[in-house]
């Protein structure tokens, strides 16, 4: 029975689950906003909220006990696989979160994913996503991505026909010589 056992298994072994939640938490703290399934978002929330609180409490007492900050950083780093993200959490994110008493994240459902019908959601850090900045950001990102892929395909197209032509001419030449 599942009585009094919190958390989802996410169809993974304990180590696989730990790794997944570590990756998701790192991504969320790095990008401030990620899209995933609802179940994973809710599990990530459980991890990330605790990490932020740990960092916040450590920084609040940093003046009184600087050594405790090191310990807190190491405890947090057990879940986050990027040192830069850890230092960002202890500086930028803690500053921005300020005195918010928990509830640092927001989950919004997006609807079902074509393919497997899984319900998707956006999980974001509340203090980094106030609403107005989003539209422009995403659009520019998409445009940039499109330009990149376009160039790639263009280059590939140019190379391939040229190579084919070379081959064709070579084969034609060999035929002519025969």
């Amino acid at each position: 029975m599942r009585h009094r056992k919190s958390g989802r298994k996410l169809k993974r072994t304990a180590s696989h689950r730990k790794a997944l939640l570590g990756s998701l938490s790192t991504s969320l703290l790095r990008h401030k906003r990620i899209t995933t399934t609802v179940a994973k978002a809710k599990e990530t929330r459980m991890v990330v909220e605790k990490l932020i609180t740990r960092a916040r409490n450590a920084m609040a007492n940093a003046a009184a006990a600087p050594a405790a900050t090191v310990h807190a950083r190491r405890e947090v780093a057990r879940h986050i696989n990027d040192r830069k993200v850890v230092s960002e959490l202890f500086s930028t994110i803690v500053d921005k979160v300020g005195s918010r008493p928990g509830g640092y994240t927001r989950i919004v459902r997006l609807g079902q994913r074509p393919g497997d019908g899984a319900e998707l959601a956006v999980i974001e850090l509340v203090d980094f996503n106030t609403g107005s900045e989003l539209t422009g950001k995403t659009e520019t990102k998409k445009k940039a991505a499109r330009v990149g892929t376009y160039r790639k395909t263009e280059a590939g197209k140019k190379e391939k026909p040229a190579a084919k032509k070379a081959e064709a001419s070579a084969s034609a030449a060999s035929k002519a010589s025969e």
Binding site: V108, G111, G131, L134
Partner: protein
């Protein structure tokens, strides 16, 4: 193991299944673009939820 004594007729099974019905999905209206959307989800048409843009839809 206990087993059924008699087979069910088609009629019997089909009568039972007359109560298997699909229900219409509950929908709500998007306050931003007034299209029908699923409740408690960001609008797939305009990406709004709770008075702010959550996602930018691919078409827009």
């Amino acid at each position: 193991m206990p087993n059924p004594k008699r087979r069910h007729s088609k009629s019997r099974g089909r009568k039972r299944r007359t109560h298997y019905k699909a229900t219409a999905a509950a929908v709500s209206e998007c306050p931003n673009c007034h299209t029908q959307k699923l409740p408690h989800r960001a609008c797939p048409n305009c990406g709004f939820y709770n008075g702010r843009t959550i996602t930018v839809p691919k078409k827009a």
